[in-house]
């Protein structure tokens, strides 16, 4: 192992990265874009549900119910004078998600204390959003109905109405329940994967395709120097991205970082190292940029995106896929990220995940080092 040769490789790789605007874009612009996209646009929170109210009753009571909807931040009233036709047309064109139909005899029933039905029409094409919207609407109507009942009881002089069971909710961690708060930390895993798997998968294959590898092999450079030189350059790039993500996440989006920043950085480095080795390994084995890129997309980037729990909860996956996620390193990293960011947990909680990442990195590094041979064939 010679430091000079290692450094020569490292310096050369840095020059490649800096001079190739495509890889630089991939390395710096894409992560930023992802952050902004996921931070601003893609939110799993359901609010400002476009709502049409079809008030057949036209009474003080029905208007009061409609006011409850317009007063809530979860609903945005598109129209109060709708009809069935308008609701259906709105849903067809995705302009409306919820229709609330207040029946003609609403006020009379409410006055007399009889049960009355309010109809909710929902666009179920996005079932997740629809069921959340239905839940909000239901609880809003239920709250109003409880209030009415209470008022009636007081009027009749039978004292204050106490519901038999009272639910008190307290959310631990991410108590604003903003999806951004768990998406942005998880996004760090995806961003590191872009550098690691996608960019790195090209580096060795490119040398084979350009014929520079044959030349390198005729020099005294050792496989480990080549491997470490390349790794270091991309490692630096990955950590730069990590820093960007951290600054944007905490600074711009206000994601809370409750845990230890050093632990966070250490875990990221561990994950990044393993992922880089995997990219280089694929590149070394295939000797083809296209093949390495596609394999890497399939074997590391997509699992990091889909199977890590970054967006899709692992607990909701079928059993067999849940088992499969056990071998996806990003899964462990995402859970470390969310733990450190949102719960502020320390090594005593995430050591198991860290151990997995450590073992994975060691294994893949050994594999890559062995495959980086000194012979052409």
């Amino acid at each position: 192992m010679s430091y000079r040769r290692f450094h020569a490789i490292f310096r050369k790789e840095m020059l490649h990265i800096m001079r190739d605007w495509r890889s630089l874009m991939m390395a710096l612009a894409v992560p930023l874009l992802l952050l902004l996209l996921f931070g601003y646009a893609l939110t799993l929170d359901v609010d400002r549900i476009p709502t049409v109210i079809y008030d057949q009753s036209h009474t003080q009571q029905s208007r009061e119910l409609a006011n409850r909807f317009s007063g809530s931040r979860y609903f945005e009233i598109v129209s109060r004078q709708g009809g069935y036709a308008e609701i259906v047309k709105g849903i067809d064109r995705s302009k409306v998600l919820l229709g609330v139909v207040i029946p003609r005899d609403f006020a009379r029933h409410v006055e007399s204390g009889e049960a009355v039905a309010v109809q909710l029409l929902l666009d179920g094409s996005d079932s997740n959003t629809a069921s959340i919207a239905a839940g909000y609407a239901e609880s809003l109507v239920l709250a109003y109905s409880t209030e009415l009942r209470e008022a009636q009881l007081i009027r009749r002089g039978s004292g204050k109405f106490e519901p038999p069971i009272d639910v008190r909710v307290r959310v631990l961690y991410n108590n604003e329940m903003k999806s951004r708060n768990f998406i942005v930390p998880g996004l760090i895993a995806v961003i590191l994967m872009i550098i690691a798997a996608l960019l790195t998968s090209l580096t060795v294959a490119r040398e084979w395709e350009n014929g520079t590898m044959e030349q390198l092999l005729s020099t005294p450079v050792r496989p480990s120097e080549l491997l470490l030189g390349k790794l270091s350059a991309y490692f630096l790039l990955g950590m730069a991205d990590m820093t960007i993500a951290l600054i944007v996440g905490v600074g711009v989006f206000g994601v809370p970082l409750r845990g230890n920043m050093l632990l966070l950085i250490f875990c990221s480095a561990l994950f990044l190292f393993g992922a880089l080795c995997w990219g280089i390994f694929l590149s070394t084995v295939t000797r083809s940029q296209l093949l390495a890129y596609q394999l890497s997309l399939l074997s590391s980037f997509l699992p990091a995106f889909l199977l890590s729990g970054f967006i899709f909860a692992i607990e909701n996956m079928p059993w067999i896929i849940q088992q499969f996620t056990l071998i996806v390193p990003a899964r462990y990293f995402v859970s470390i990220l969310q733990g450190i960011f949102l719960k502020g947990v320390g090594v005593q909680v995430v050591w198991g995940q860290m151990l997995f990442l450590g073992i994975y990195a060691t294994l893949v590094f050994t594999l890559a080092n062995r495959k980086m041979r000194q012979k052409m064939a």
Partner: protein
């Protein structure tokens, strides 16, 4: 300086090099010629330790390549057919990169770089990205990169492929200078005028070295079998000659045909049988190689 003893290299069922033995002495320029697929590149790669021979031993600078690869690498310079220059790096950066890989002392490196840039007249281009150099300059840069560590043996795999004649001449002048300084050079080439410039030439065909000698000796050896035929109707005469017994081949060469005879065939017999008049010919290396390969093929067919 270079020694191959009964070297064979197989790729699966294909035998790229078979039973090759060769010795090249110090400060010799040895040319390896032969058609594509003859095994030239494989031979060079085995000499540089990029591939292992299936059988036989390879020795460079007195060292067994299989056993002392790292020491061998310090002694050799290798320029692959598709040279590994980094197009986005400048001339200077490419040179610095390779000099770092060879661990050359910075002071020595600066001196050598200046000297080589001067010798190749590339000093004005030291800040130009390698991708923006002409074909000839790329080759010169590649050569400089392989020379920085002052190798004792230089391996060049078709170094002047696709380079204009003027740059090729430049390139060869540099090679002569290096050989004069004591460097041993093994160069494979598809250009026979380049083979003519070598001290010795080895002709490879289908993995075997079929002839190996100085260009003059090769020509002298083949002269008795090479003739020239003037003909008004090339195509007809050629067709007749190719069917005539004792004729190895008849190839158009400018206004005439060059006719190669089998060993033991007599000129008079061929003239009588074909009706063509054969004049003795001072063969070029090209004639020698075509004739030798035809002879080899006719042996193989028989």
């Amino acid at each position: 300086m270079i020694k191959l003893s009964n070297v064979t290299r197989r790729f699966g069922r294909l035998t790229a090099v078979r039973g090759l033995s060769l010795e090249i002495s110090e400060s010799e320029i040895f040319g390896l010629v032969g058609p594509d697929g003859a095994g030239k590149s494989t031979t060079l790669r085995m000499l540089c330790g990029l591939m292992d021979p299936s059988e036989g031993a390879v020795e460079v600078a007195g060292l067994d390549v299989g056993k002392h690869l790292d020491q061998v690498k310090d002694q050799i310079g290798y320029m692959a057919q598709k040279f590994g220059l980094y197009g986005d790096l400048t001339v200077e950066e490419n040179m610095l990169f390779y000099s770092d890989l060879f661990g050359i002392d910075p002071a020595e490196r600066d001196r050598m770089m200046a000297e080589y840039l001067e010798m190749t007249r590339m000093t004005p281009f030291r800040d130009r990205p390698a991708a923006k150099l002409s074909g000839g300059m790329k080759q010169k840069l590649a050569l400089m990169c392989t020379l920085l560590h002052r190798p004792r043996v230089l391996f060049l795999d078709e170094p002047t492929n696709g380079v204009d004649p003027l740059s090729r001449r430049d390139f060869w002048e540099i090679l002569y200078r290096l050989a004069k300084e004591g460097m041993t050079i093994l160069v494979s080439t598809a250009y026979l005028d380049e083979a003519e410039r070598c001290n010795r030439v080895g002709l490879m065909h289908k993995g075997r070295m079929i002839h190996c000698d100085t260009p003059a000796a090769l020509k002298a050896q083949m002269a008795p079998y090479c003739f020239r035929a003037e003909a008004a109707d090339h195509r007809a005469v050629r067709a007749v000659l190719q069917k005539t017994e004792g004729v190895l081949g008849a190839e158009p060469a400018g206004a005439a045909l060059h006719v190669y005879l089998l060993e033991g065939a007599r000129r008079e017999d061929v003239e009588r049988a074909s009706g063509a008049r054969l004049e003795p010919l001072e063969p070029s290396l090209e004639d020698v190689f075509i004739a030798l390969i035809r002879r080899e093929e006719s042996h193989a067919a028989a």
